[in-house]
């Protein structure tokens, strides 16, 4: 190559490389928008609510006195609602995904189901609230119970679980299925021996991400008419009710009144006394930490399972 040509070539490379630097800076800035917002939010919440974060806060019921108020009923409520959500959404979502991915014939019924699922994922959460109000609270008469809320949030995260499960199933190479079939396995054997175990990582991640989203949901729970003041916990199964002396049934807690963290927070936010704002911030911190923990678990699971399962 001639020296002159080389010279122009080099100039032109130097020019092109400048974009790399500019874009690198731009990218970093863009990333920082998100990161800084989060940091700002979190720091703000911590500054407001740090003082209230204590054991007492976690183990007390709500109160008109901000400094005595706590979130016991709220986090227990959230935990129980999540339990119902998980119990309803996981089997349903996984089964639906398995059906769509492995069983469904390619016909219009399947198409409808498919489009439905994608569409459900985009339906605003408030609409689920409206649905739940009509369906669970009134039609099925579950009332404003843990069951209603759990089922509502289950519907909300159902598409998330279905989509995640389908993706996890799709990531399993066709060769694995064919290998199992070729050994004489039946369809259900293929599903239960192989597909579900191998996709468990993806499924779990999907479940956790869905649940993390559900924890922070306010709107649908508000719509079904959440309670706000609850100064007792749902009855433990098989204990004796102090008031009636009767033994508590195993599922009684499902129909118990409850509140959840975001509602508690929302309620406190709109109280006139500034002290309640601290409580709200502290509740916000608890919610964020819960989602953080769940995301952490999801990441860890993804990593663990990615290490053992490769094709």
């Amino acid at each position: 190559m001639q020296a002159a040509e080389l010279q122009t070539l080099r100039q032109q490379i130097a020019w092109r490389k400048r974009y790399d630097i500019w874009f690198g800076i731009l990218g970093l800035l863009a990333t920082m928008v998100g990161v800084l917002t989060l940091v700002a939010l979190f720091v703000d919440l911590i500054m407001d609510g740090y003082g209230r974060l204590s054991w007492q806060f976690l183990t007390s019921f709500p109160s008109r006195r901000a400094s005595e108020a706590g979130i016991l009923s709220a986090w227990v409520g959230t935990a129980l609602v999540m339990l119902v959500t998980a119990a309803a959404a996981i089997p349903l979502g996984v089964a639906a995904a398995v059906y769509l991915e492995e069983y469904a014939p390619r016909n219009w019924i399947t198409d409808i189901i498919e489009i439905n699922v994608t569409n459900l994922a985009g339906v605003p959460s408030i609409i689920y609230g409206l649905l739940a109000l009509g369906l669970f609270v009134y039609l099925l008469d579950f009332g404003q119970s843990i069951l209603s809320a759990g089922l509502t949030l289950a519907l909300l995260i159902l598409p998330v679980i279905i989509v995640a499960t389908r993706e996890a199933l799709r990531a399993i190479p066709i060769g694995i299925r064919e290998a199992a079939y070729a050994l004489g396995a039946s369809k259900w054997q293929v599903v239960s021996h192989h597909l579900l175990p191998y996709s468990s990582g993806g499924i779990l991640t999907g479940i956790i991400i869905g649940m993390a989203r559900a924890i922070g949901e306010t709107a649908p729970v508000i719509t079904i008419g959440a309670l706000t003041f609850i100064a007792f916990l749902p009855p433990l199964p098989f204990t004796t009710d102090p008031a009636t002396g009767a033994t508590v049934g195993p599922f009684e807690w499902l129909f118990a009144p409850f509140t959840v963290l975001p509602i508690q927070m929302f309620n406190w936010v709109s109280r006139p006394q500034a002290a309640f704002l601290e409580n709200a911030a502290a509740t916000g911190i608890v919610i964020i930490i819960a989602t953080l923990a769940m995301n952490g678990i999801a990441i860890w699971l993804r990593y663990r399972i990615r290490k053992t399962i490769k094709w």
């Binding site: 390619r106 694995i176 064919e178 290998a179 050994l183 004489g184 021996h193 191998y198 053992t308």
Partner: protein, 266 residues
């Protein structure tokens, strides 16, 4: 062992393990195989070669009704399995039963992401075998049969996916062998392997052919030449020529075959 009385004898091939006649296959509207008549000699290696898309895999996969897994596929004609003398593509025949007797090894090694032991034991588990001792015995036998025992006997519990490509493919062969198949189908079993691993698999095919009938599809003509007793050449969904391998490679009967194997295809 004298061959079963119910095995018909073919003039060129000898006792038959299976045979297609007037066999057609359709992917929906696409007529992928046309009127295939092919014998499969008992305890022989039969290779299927031909240009890409000629229907090799389609034919092979018809033997264990793999096409049943996908909608819209249609078989026509006969694939008889001997000594039963049953047309295995008939409606009344259970594809699962067919697959229990006809094993398959795939192009890409596809061990399950389970332990080596569980991989080989899987065929037995599917059959409902629960006795640990029986399973252990069969697993060892199959791994020995696949020339893998010595390499893995000390780590039967480690993940199969950590084996090298060649070992994985031998594991897949062991997995198929453990189920005592009468016919073993190979679909380009070495195309994902390097030459040394390939040589290992070919060597293994040479060893197991005394026990089981083998049908192998390969892109690699030389591989067909190396491992098979009989070779079928397919083109555009038809069986152009079926001959003893040596004859096909030195003195093919059909011009199309000759053109293909000498690299004159247009």
């Amino acid at each position: 062992m004298a061959h079963d009385m119910n095995m018909p004898t073919h003039p060129v091939v000898g006792p038959l393990k299976a045979e297609t006649s007037g066999f057609h296959f359709y992917y929906g509207d696409h007529h992928a195989l046309r009127n295939i008549d092919m014998p499969v000699g008992d305890k022989k290696v039969t290779a299927i070669i031909g240009p890409s898309g000629c229907g090799k895999s389609t034919l092979l996969r018809s033997f264990n009704r793999m096409h049943d897994l996908y909608p819209g596929n249609r078989y026509e004609g006969e694939i008889r399995l001997y000594p039963d003398n049953v047309n295995i593509i008939e409606r009344g025949v259970d594809p699962i039963e067919v697959r229990m007797r006809i094993g398959m090894v795939f192009q890409k090694p596809n061990p399950f992401p389970k332990s080596i032991f569980e991989n080989v034991a899987y065929g037995l588990r599917v059959r409902g075998e629960k006795r640990r001792s029986v399973i252990e015995e069969k697993v060892e036998e199959a791994l020995r049969g696949a020339a893998l025992w010595d390499e893995v006997k000390d780590r039967l519990d480690s993940l199969a996916t950590n084996l090298s490509g060649g070992q994985q493919q031998r594991l897949c062969i062991a997995r198929a062998l453990a189920a005592d198949p009468e016919l073993l189908l190979f679909d380009e079993p070495t195309s994902a392997l390097d030459p040394i691993a390939t040589a290992g698999i070919e060597e293994l095919i040479g060893q197991i052919k005394h026990r089981v009938t083998i049908l192998i599809v390969t892109h690699n003509m030389q591989q067909a030449a190396r491992v098979s007793d009989f070779t079928a050449f397919m083109y555009m969904g038809e069986l152009v020529e079926f001959s003893p391998t040596e004859e096909l490679f030195v003195k093919p009967k059909k011009q199309q075959t000759e053109d293909y194997i000498t690299g004159r295809f247009g």
